[in-house]
Amino acid sequence: MQLTSFLFLLFFLVVSSIYYLFPSKYRWIWLLLVSYCFYGIGNINSVGLLILVTVTTWNGGNLIAGARHNHQIRNSSAHQKIILAACVLLNIGILVFYKYSNFAIYNLNRILRIGQIPPIQFTFNWIMPIGISFFILQALTYPIDIYRGKINPEKNPLKYALFVSFFPQILSGPIGRAKNMLPQISTNHQFDFDRIKHGMWRMLWGFFQKMVIGDRLSIFIASVFDDPVVFQHGGIINWIAMVFFGLQIYYDFAGYSNIAIGAAQILGYSIPVNFLRPYFSKSVTEFWKRWHISLTSWFRDYLYIPLGGNRVGKIRHAANILIVFLVSGLWHGANWTFIIWGLLNGFYQIIELSLKSVLKPIIGQRSFQLNSFGWKSLRVVMVFFLTDFAWIFFRSNTIHDAFGFIKGLFYFNPQILLDDQLYQYGLTRINMQILLIALVISVTVSWLQRSGSICEKMDRQPFWFRWAVILTGIFAILLLGIYGPNVDTSQFIYTKF
């Protein structure tokens, strides 16, 4: 069930209305029930896997806690480590098995072909369970944090099952942490008018980002990236498509995240934000602190830091960065394009760190006041273009296509800006105008967010202003959103991962 569908709106309206009719103590039971229904609709075959992940991680965590407190076990620490390793390996194994088996066979066959050995004539014909990359990472935070002594075990397996399957998060995150979510499940959530109102506003903003901006951009992008005839000699068109994809993936995923966070907020749950104005970042390192925060912080806490983080030698530090981005690339998809995208971002960070130490003596001098408006703006623009360039690999169907696209960037055809050629890639002039206005609105909102919550700012406005903004928002989505019959852009990019 897509979060931008009318079916989801109807489902959510019914679910949240009934939710508040339950006594607050038992509301989590209703949420568990509807979360499984939500996941089961269209993915009934994957429900067993969800239960498997839930059972193994819950038991893993509780066994670790049991081993810690069982004084009869001689080497408790090693025992806990073995349980954790088994739990992590099993669950990561499930993820790898579903996600990378065919990719592994494909690459193995390429190697076999070099050695002129007959290839393996076998592929797995399964559909990857939706949300698997998200809920496995979310579930693993439980045994790991218990092992680290950061949380106590959850005694109620059903409450734990809700943590893994919580419907606003299960499809594409934001990836929650056991230490944040489990206490909320045991909290009695009261009906809070303002919180619900703010949740609805956040959802509305998410719909706007996804349906008015993200999906509109995707039309142009698809007509360029999916057509070699266009991108091989695209020139200016390729530059626009590259920038548009950087924007699309942001508005698509930030839109999704806002809908999920807003929905959870309506139900009384607080999920941390996933994006913090990433395209205002002044360095690639900063960008990755603001982009898909729930995933990058997961990799930071559960991969980068265990590898030694930055408290190691320079070469090891660089290797750690590359490992994290390689895994991050692989996490996004079983394709070399994602691996290159990840490594490219890793190299950006390594170069950035190197430059920082090389330029250290001159930073701060009169011409190198990096916090001046001019330098800040240049850094923001540079980070924007570097990340956009990396997205080329992320969006291209094959590496060959990606290099073809990059080659097309150097095709010189600025004259197309002077005629109507720009409007031949799926977006008419009026659509481009709508896009421009929507982007200006979005940037303005981001700008306003710098000085505090938009919801609080709205609350300070008179009712007629709030009503006018909300009504305008609703009708902007209804009238200008890309949806309806024969529209195939509604799927969120990240639900594929």
């Binding site: 008419t428 200008l480 959103g481």
Partner: protein, 481 residues
């Protein structure tokens, strides 16, 4: 807390009405938007509903029935209206009208083919019929219960189906003003067709019969049951049309079904001679009657209603005076362009649905006697024309002189239709600009441009020559040297 709840309720009400308004702007308008058109009729004023498809809106003229019998009726029809949409529209309409009898034209049942539901044609036709019905609990229940409507979200929220019309520049001023206009459908759902295309008469009726498709039969029975629940007599009928043998056998099947349910059945294909239908002059195309054919069918239905249902003649009832005005306007739409006599023409301009701009050149005064009657109707003093150095301009709106001037030009804007008329009468010249476009024939005499407020089109451009014959001219090249 109470304040917040009240505020949320008020916001929801505002949202609902805004949503309705957006739907009304977006859905596709045709000449007939049955459900919305009927809403604009005063409650409980319609005696007879005619349900069906385009064969009804081309073949049954409620104003003919009114003129002949004083019975009020309405064609509750849109183009290719599917039978399940007819059922739903009937159900919704019975909430505001209590007709004494309902007629159902059976083409919607016989026309049903396998796959219609899934086809774009079926989906589009259902939208045409259902979109004008405002969102209500009863519409929601209907859409949910009608299995044949597959895309229920789109049917309940037409904005999903139509929203791209905005971005694709399909919307025009009619769409944008639609929620704010309350123009009744003066032809009561009837669509005037003047075109003629000779047709072949159907062959003899076969003796065999074919049953209806189960889906079509299901909804026909639902209509029958609904009428019984509401205690309203139902009559099944079929307008005359060249028919295949297969269709004639289906009509035999319907006759059997009507017999089974004890419902009157009128098959006009069997009454062709009785109503003097002429296949060479009375059809627009292979299925639809033109104005002449509709007149004959409507005359028969009028008589049938009088004989079988004894409905009241409302022509002299002041509550129904708008029907007389509507009848006059319909008559104007039909006959104004062929009216040749000046006094008669001016009488017709009393139609409240018309705005007319009339310029008198001074040459008119030479033939004062001939024009006197017409001029008097215009409330123009002959001396005004005589004293004017630049002739005279009059603007008629709803049968009254709104402006009359001997000046150089006059400007008039009617805020309800957003029309601007500008007339200049200078010596022997006449210029009448409507929406900045020249419409005057510029003939020396009386030049008239007639604007139909309902259709927002020019209904007629005519000039009357200052001769003893008071000849009407519609082609200026005849008199221009």
């Amino acid at each position: 807390m109470m304040k917040k709840i009240v505020s949320a309720i008020l916001f929801s009400v505002l949202l609902y009405y805004s949503f309705q308004m957006v739907n009304e702007i977006l859905f596709i308008k045709t000449e007939v938007n049955a459900a919305k058109d009927l809403v604009l009729e005063p409650k409980k004023t319609i005696d007879v509903f005619f349900l069906g498809t385009s064969h009804v809106y081309c073949g049954v003229n409620p104003l003919e029935i009114w003129e002949q019998s004083g019975i009020t009726s309405f064609d509750l029809v849109t183009n290719r209206q599917p039978i399940w949409a007819s059922y739903s529209i009937l159900k919704q309409s019975l909430k505001q009208q209590k007709p004494a009898v309902i007629f159902f034209e059976v083409l919607g049942a016989t026309d049903y083919v396998e796959g219609l539901i899934e086809s774009d044609r079926g989906n589009h036709a259902t939208h045409l019929a259902m979109d004008p019905i405002p969102l209500s609990f009863s519409k929601i229940m209907d859409v949910l219960r009608i299995d044949e409507i597959k895309k229920k979200q789109e049917m309940l929220f037409p904005v999903i189906y139509h929203h791209r019309r905005l971005v694709e520049n399909e919307l025009n001023s009619t769409d944008l003003l639609y929620p704010f206009t309350r123009n009744r459908n003066i032809q009561k759902g009837y669509v005037l067709s003047l075109k003629t295309e000779p047709q072949e008469r159907s062959g003899p009726y076969p003796t065999q019969s074919i049953p209806l498709h189960p889906t079509a039969e299901k909804y026909l029975i639902k209509i029958i049951e609904l009428c019984r629940e509401e205690k309203i007599p139902l009559v099944l009928f079929k307008t005359p049309a060249p028919s295949s043998e297969n269709l004639l056998m289906q009509l035999n099947g319907i006759a059997e079904l009507a017999d089974k349910f004890d419902i009157p059945w009128i098959d006009f294909n069997r009454l062709v001679d009785q109503i003097h239908l002429d296949y060479s002059t009375d059809f627009v195309d292979g299925g639809h009657l033109n104005v002449f054919g509709a007149k004959k069918v409507s005359a028969y239905l009028s008589q049938y209603l009088q004989e079988h249902f004894h409905l009241e003649d409302r022509r002299k009832d002041s509550k129904f005076s708008s029907w007389n005005a509507d009848a006059l306007h319909y008559d104007n739409r039909l006959n104004l362009q062929t009216t040749m006599l000046f006094p008669e023409y001016i009488r017709r301009l009393g139609d409240p649905h018309l705005i007319s701009v009339i310029t008198f050149n001074q040459s008119v005064m030479d033939h004062q006697a001939n024009f006197q009657e017409g001029i008097q109707r215009c409330e123009v003093e002959p001396s005004d024309i005589l004293n004017s150095s630049n002739g005279l301009i009059c603007i008629f709106d709803a049968g009254k002189v709104i402006k009359s001037t001997s000046g150089h030009f006059v400007h008039y804007a009617n805020d309800t239709i957003f029309n601007i008329a500008l007339g200049i009468s200078e010596g022997t010249k006449s210029s009448i600009l409507v929406n900045q476009k020249e419409q005057s024939l510029n003939v020396d005499g009386v030049n008239i441009v007639v604007y139909d407020k309902d259709t927002q089109t020019i209904l007629d451009r005519v000039a009357f020559l200052p001769t003893d014959e008071m000849q009407a001219v519609r082609d200026p090249s005849v008199v221009t040297p």
